[in-house]
Symmetry: C2
């Protein structure tokens, strides 16, 4: 579910659930361990344990208010940053090969965008509160489609598997640059993927069509 | 020189020089080594060697189009992201103490903010090209004021020392939350500094005055 995309219509691909605060009927999820160092670990009910040390992982990019829709949001005072991190082992592998190894863990952290504070008067900086949190995991032995998305109520609680029928899976498969991940928005990784020839055929076709339009 | 602040008037504190492309008269700077792993290293002429591995350091925050001035920029199509990184040893020390150790290296990387690309229609994501690059170094034995700012033409070339008379030094000393650094804009570090009681008296006074206005 990377990068962050905000919704203006209910039927838009559920790339990011950070505006959906709670999954109805889900019992409170309490973490008993962690997805430490980027190795995914799961609770007995299938939840993903939280990647507690992700702020010490490798930073990939940030966006603000990204959206598929050209229409403006109705919440002009609710800008959001999204920050994307990946576990170091997966990053080193990507830098060498241009694609992701098994056990890749990508973290999306969403924070509010503040404008006035201290000496700042314009533009936006990031708030201390985390407003949304999601993880995209590659675990070949566990997931039929290799990758899975998990939604978290907070970075400290366990994450719930997003069912494979959700639009985010098909959307990532159709539009993502590398192995169902949005490498086209990761500025230091896109040149690596180009050099290594690992860009997805569907992405290349879409880019080619955009150039000739 | 953190976080990024864009200028609308020539006399505004030179917090970030990323809009000033070249320092006149400076010979081409070629790096022969690196500020590796966050340990600052210098050329014989006093230039700072580039921190080549900074994208594997600890990410602190990103901002977009931050400015001291409430007036709008005259370049609406030239939004900029700034990303801030710090060497891991300094980050671990800050997490434990709430302030920076000697040999702290803070990196500011500036990238253009694109809006339309691939499936994105609104908001902004980061461009592959680095538009500006600066480093803030704490080196007690080397700099009379403990800290120094260096401006780089690119992340691969050596950085030039910004003279201590430049407004950025006095501005950081007057307004920065911790040890002349803008921790007030680093969302994961501000709570640490509050908890450890390391916020600068001048910053606390300024914040208190802002609340009572």
């Amino acid at each position: 579910m990377f990068p962050a995309v905000r919704f203006t219509a209910a039927i838009v691909c559920l790339l990011f659930l950070y505006l959906a605060v709670t999954v109805c009927g889900r019992p409170p999820a309490i973490a008993h361990a962690a997805t430490s160092g980027g190795v995914p670990a799961y609770a007995t009910n299938g939840d993903l344990l939280p990647p507690r040390d992700y702020r010490a992982w490798i930073y990939l990019t940030s966006g603000i208010d990204m959206s598929y829709s050209p229409k403006a949001m109705d919440m002009p005072d609710h800008s959001m940053f999204d920050n994307v991190f990946v576990n170091p082992a997966a990053w080193h592998s990507f830098m060498a090969t241009g694609t992701w190894p098994d056990k890749t863990v990508l973290v999306l952290e969403v924070r509010g965008a503040k404008s006035k504070g201290s000496i700042n008067q314009r533009g936006h900086f990031q708030d201390t509160e985390v407003k949304g949190f999601e993880v995209h995991v590659k675990d070949e032995a566990r997931f039929p489609g290799t990758w899975a998305f998990f939604d978290f109520d907070s970075p400290e609680k366990n994450g719930t598997l997003i069912p494979t029928g959700a639009p985010c899976y098909t959307c990532h498969a159709a539009h993502a640059a590398v192995d169902t991940t949005f490498v086209q928005f990761y500025p230091t990784l896109l040149p690596i993927a180009k050099a290594k020839g690992t860009l997805a055929p569907a992405f290349l076709k879409e880019e080619s069509a955009a150039v000739t339009r």
